[in-house]
């Protein structure tokens, strides 16, 4: 797959579109199977769908040639294009074929806390999702941990604000650096709000920080699950993930 990717060039697209399309097959298959796993396409129609994607992609090669400016890797661009084609096919099928039954639970898997491999993948996904929040990711991460009652690490605080006053750092670690399960969410955010306001230079009420965190967690969960959903993440699974991550850090540090 990797070697084919390297051969995906705009010159090949122009000179030999059929060969180019052949090299796109792994991308198409991954995308179609990903959507089959989520129940968007029935498994029984894999070949037909792959064929449709190929036809549409072939028809779009001219447009790709026109629009691709060479500022991104072509293989990534083709991935984005193939994904859009799959979504388009899904939309068309939804409008024209009403007989396909797609079960909501189809293909969605629940996180198994004993499966280390799944954990690694999901943690990586969580951190990819968090990166999309750019400047807010570190503050979201810390607020999310508080909302889900996961102990904070010094590094979390440092990443959020490396210039935080020692007294505030000490305060956060002494209160939230250990298990604080007995505190209610309101109590947690009431204690956290003054530090938040000083770092973020706001004067937000604890309740509004809590509400913001809750909203952001819901966005994170939606992104983690995908659309259509292929996972069944919830606040609970997120809590399990972050808790496991915390334990791993502890193990590394000890």
């Amino acid at each position: 797959m990797h070697s084919h990717h390297e051969q995906l060039t705009i010159t090949l697209l122009r000179d030999d579109p059929k060969k180019f399309l052949r090299y796109c097959q792994p991308i198409i298959e991954i995308c179609v199977h990903q959507y089959m796993a989520s129940g968007m396409f029935p498994y029984a129609e894999a070949k037909d769908i792959i064929q449709s994607v190929n036809e549409k992609l072939y028809a779009r090669l001219g447009t790709i040639d026109q629009h691709y400016t060479g500022r991104v890797l072509l293989r990534t661009y083709i991935n984005a294009t193939v994904r859009n084609i799959c979504l388009r096919i899904h939309e068309e099928r939804n409008h024209s074929i009403k007989t396909i039954q797609i079960h909501e639970e189809h293909g969605i898997y629940t996180i198994d806390p004993t499966n280390a491999f799944v954990f690694d993948e999901e943690l990586e996904r969580l951190h990819t999702v968090l990166q999309l929040f750019h400047e807010e990711r570190n503050k979201l991460y810390i607020a999310m941990k508080l909302y889900l009652k996961i102990p904070l690490r010094k590094m979390d605080i440092y990443r959020w604000n490396r210039h935080l006053a020692p007294a505030q750092k000490e305060f956060l670690i002494s209160l939230f650096g250990k298990n604080y399960d007995e505190m209610t969410i309101h109590e947690i955010f009431a204690a956290f709000a003054p530090v938040w306001n000083s770092v973020e230079r706001t004067s937000s009420a604890p309740k509004s920080i809590e509400r913001w965190t809750n909203e952001q967690i819901n966005v994170v969960i939606k992104l983690m699950n995908g659309n259509p959903p292929r996972r069944s993440h919830s606040k609970e699974t997120l809590q399990v993930l972050l808790s496991e991550e915390y334990s791993r850090h502890l193990n590394k540090e000890s």
Binding site: T69, V72, V129, G226
Partner: protein, 247 residues
């Protein structure tokens, strides 16, 4: 849709924009992404989802971090001011100014000499031979410099066409692309929160950044002829980008 844009007319990332973000995630170079793209994505669940999905499709795809990326390794995004480069620029300006002055001196002499007809007859041929060729390069240089001041920034043009979603602001003046009189006045309908107004050169250099609590601002700075962009930002996000011209 402009093919050079990372944003669609509907204010979301194009396929290319999504691909660029995915490239950045794979290569761990998100900090090299255009700032406006980072800002947009951080507040746009639709674009976030697209990126996550394409990233997921490519999760087993290995990227060679040593390979040169067509955007991150070739485009000069926001060049830091380099001492060497500045010196070169200063030297170029000084030389240009000297040449212009030189040209102007002779041109002025030419005019004064032309006034008495008797001398004109005597002097003109000499002037034509010596001054005209010497005068041409600085004028061209000046025209080039002026033209540079009016060239569009692709990044900023993307944003001028983008409508920002969460908070909309109605700008009263200047209209996008308006030729303005100085001092330049900015007016918009109140959005109920303090804003930061930024004025940037066509090279995306911030010339003015000021907090405004009212719904207008008058720039005291005198702008040289050129194309300028201006932005309105709340504490959390960019809500408007416009442009104006000074002749």
């Amino acid at each position: 849709m402009n093919s050079t844009s990372f944003f669609t007319d509907r204010m979301h990332l194009t396929d290319e924009g999504v691909a660029l973000y995915v490239d950045a995630l794979k290569l761990q170079r998100t900090s090299d992404l255009p700032k406006e793209m980072l800002k947009h994505v951080s507040h746009c669940p639709d674009c976030q989802l697209q990126i996550v999905e394409v990233h997921e499709m490519m999760k087993n795809d290995l990227y060679d971090a040593s390979m040169k990326h067509p955007y991150f390794d070739t485009v000069v995004h926001e060049p830091a001011v380099r001492y060497g480069a500045s010196l070169f620029r200063i030297a170029a300006i000084v030389t240009g100014a000297a040449l212009l002055g030189f040209g102007y001196y002779f041109a002025t002499n030419n005019t004064t000499v032309q006034t008495p007809p008797a001398i004109v007859q005597h002097e003109t041929p000499k002037m034509d031979q010596t001054n005209v060729p010497a005068k041409e390069p600085p004028v061209k240089e000046q025209e080039q410099l002026l033209a540079d001041n009016f060239s569009e920034s692709l990044n900023m043009e993307d944003l001028v066409r983008t409508q920002f979603r969460s908070i909309s602001v109605e700008v009263i003046t200047p209209d996008v692309g308006e030729v303005v009189q100085q001092p330049v006045q900015f007016k918009w309908k109140d959005v109920g929160e303090p804003l930061t107004l930024k004025i940037l050169s066509n090279k995306e250099r911030t010339l003015i950044s000021t907090q405004v609590t009212t719904n207008s601002y008058t720039a005291q700075k005198k702008f040289a002829p050129g194309l300028y962009y201006w932005k309105l930002e709340t504490k959390d996000e960019l809500i408007f980008v416009g442009k104006f011209l000074v002749r």
